[in-house]
Amino acid sequence: MAKLTILHFPDPRLRTRARPVLAMSAEVQRLAADMLETMYSAPGIGLAATQVGVDQRLIVVDVSEKGNEPRVFINPEILARAGTETMQEGCLSVPGVFEEVERAASVRVRALDGNGQTLEFDADGLLAVCIQHEIDHLNGKLFVDYLSELKRRRIRKKLEKEQHAARSASRPAAPAI
């Protein structure tokens, strides 16, 4: 297993619309395992392949209390939505930003699990929010897209500044005289 690098907003690769997984393979399973490891160490409760620069429709999720119920969803689709719910969200690709987003309160989901078996289930609460958030990633969409233009621009500026600062800090320091 290996920890992957998470792309940060406004990286253009986060805007990719990911392609479906065509065949279950050892490679796909390794990707899912690496993504889970990356998600747990972030720490996060969901991660989409797009966020680690992989152009595949695959998400991993764990909303359990103890972080011991990993789930892998391949080619996930939302079949139906019901109700609305507003929850504060944060994203591993938009670190340090937490904003309220309105989404469907419950969703019916179809996907393949990590073994390629078809799943169809209803989700609500945090799981419903998380699945919608991650499927958005597969479509090149981020939670900041739900915010006002002004707010999004402010977040982009802030993150660009932080990324710039981080790059400068990692350069070797000039030798002391």
């Binding site: 972030a42 720490p43 996060g44 409760i45 969901g46 991660l47 909303v63 359990s64 209390e65 719910e85 507003t86 929850m87 504060q88 969200e89 944060g90 994203c91 591993l92 670190p95 340090g96 930003v97 937490f98 904003e99 609460g125 945090l126 929010v129 998380c130 958030h133 991650e134």
Partner: protein, 433 residues
């Protein structure tokens, strides 16, 4: 998606309470219901605990801050207080309490406060031993009650004020009332015990069952089936004191959410009960409770102080007046009272209570009984209020309450919060000549 922050959410709920919201409503409106159960429980614990000890936490925070926080920073203020609550009262590892609380600054979109929160909480941790030792020298911080309330309770109960205030900082038990029309208490005790819930019969209420550990009543099928309700033992004493009989006309003047209404119908289903409340939203709860328990009563949205608008010339053999009050007897159950109630509100309730007594008395039939109830510990709302009423009404007489609970007063009987695990209640039985 990154991990959510129970601490940030709790800080938002607390800020809403300071804006005047009720804690239970602010909590149910928050998104905590979407969290995994353990996190939702943490949000609840942080909110209840921080409000319970707020006067103490404020005292510490003032000393730890180099200069006061901007008054607009209510969420940050709340976050710092709940950080101190975790360090002083909860069994959370200090590094986790500090780390997660500091991290919650980002969830509140206040990354600039990270350093401040870190400094305040670490300084508390370093100085905790000294701060704890010095605490008894600062009365309102030590007893964790607002100064005005501490003074009033000390004046009203000069020999018992310390134990009253200490009881106000305890966690209340979860007490249930069996619906005697559907289950015996023995059967309910057995069913709950079989479900792994430790329960005991109550001491004074024949229908009461106290749970030794809180549990979510909705997980027990008997709740939806109307076998039992949630109600403190002190509140369960009302039905027995009122003594409703079959066919009697009974008025419950401030009935919402209907706990006492339902209990007196469970004791006497043939009583003709009219239940009023002036809050339409809460009247809905009366209907829900009646339905769940399989009972029926006439329910109206009406103001008890204006019988001309709803009385229609009716008279009643029994009147239950569970009057609006300072709720100082249930502070352990609703610690937001400490933050929301001001001393001026007590004078306002005293005036309303007097108006209600005066307005309802003419509706009581000769030979009838009015039971005056508050969940207050303050003499002005209780014995002094009833005394004033008796002096102005020659046809009214206070019946002594023969009971093993509470303190006998002239007139009425007072349960102090914490006595036999009960809430603080006042009862007076008034008989009409």
């Amino acid at each position: 998606m990154s991990r959510h922050s129970p601490r940030a959410l709790a800080a938002r709920v607390l800020a809403a309470v300071w804006q005047g919201a009720r804690l239970d409503e602010a909590l149910s409106k928050s998104a905590s219901g979407n969290f995994p159960l353990r996190d939702a429980a943490l949000v609840r614990e942080l909110c209840y605990g921080t409000l319970r000890f707020q006067p103490r936490l404020e005292y510490w925070l003032t000393g730890l801050l180099a200069r006061p926080l901007d008054a607009r920073e209510a969420e940050l203020h709340a976050l710092l207080l709940l950080g101190l609550y975790q360090l002083s009262e909860m069994r959370v590892a200090p590094h986790a309490a500090i780390g997660e609380t500091v991290e919650a600054c980002r969830h509140l979109s206040k990354p600039w406060a990270v350093q401040l929160a870190n400094a305040v909480l670490r300084r508390f941790q370093r100085e905790q031993a000294r701060l704890m030792t010095e605490l008894p020298q600062h009365e309102d911080a030590y007893y964790a009650h607002p100064r005005w309330l501490l003074e009033r309770i000390r004046a009203d109960w000069p020999d018992r004020w310390r134990e009253i205030l200490e009881a106000g900082n305890q966690r209340p038990p979860l007490t249930l009332r069996v619906n005697r029309l559907r289950r015996t208490r023995a059967a309910l005790l057995e069913e709950l015990a079989a479900a792994g819930i430790a329960v005991q019969p109550c001491e004074f209420s024949a229908d009461g069952v106290v749970a030794l550990e809180p549990f979510d009543v909705r997980t027990q099928p008997g709740f939806a089936a109307g076998h039992f309700s949630v109600q403190d033992e002190a509140a369960q004493l009302a039905a027995e004191l009122l003594e409703p009989r079959a066919g009697m006309r009974v008025l419950d003047a401030c009935a919402a959410p209907g706990g006492k209404t339902c209990h007196l119908l469970e004791c006497c289903p043939q009583a003709q009960v009219l239940a009023l409340d002036n809050d339409a939203e809460r009247v809905r709860k009366i209907h829900q409770n009646l339905q769940r328990l399989g009972l029926s009563a006439e329910v109206r949205v009406a103001d008890a102080t204006h019988p001309d608008t709803w009385g229609g010339g009716r008279s009643f053999e029994r009147i239950l007046l569970d009057a609006p009050c300072s709720a100082t007897g249930v502070i352990r159950r609703h610690p937001d009272i400490k933050a929301r109630r001001r001393s001026a509100a007590v004078s306002a309730s005293v005036a309303v209570q007097a108006r209600m007594l005066t307005a309802l008395w003419p509706l009581l039939a000769s030979g009838g009984k009015l039971l005056y109830v508050t969940c207050s510990l303050l003499v002005e709302e209780n014995a002094a209020q009833v005394d004033k009423f008796l002096a102005a009404h020659a046809d009214a007489r206070a019946l002594p309450i023969a009971a093993h609970w509470g303190v006998a007063l002239p007139p009425g009987r007072q349960i102090l919060a914490g006595e036999s695990r009960m809430d603080g209640f006042y009862y007076a039985c008034l008989h009409k000549a």
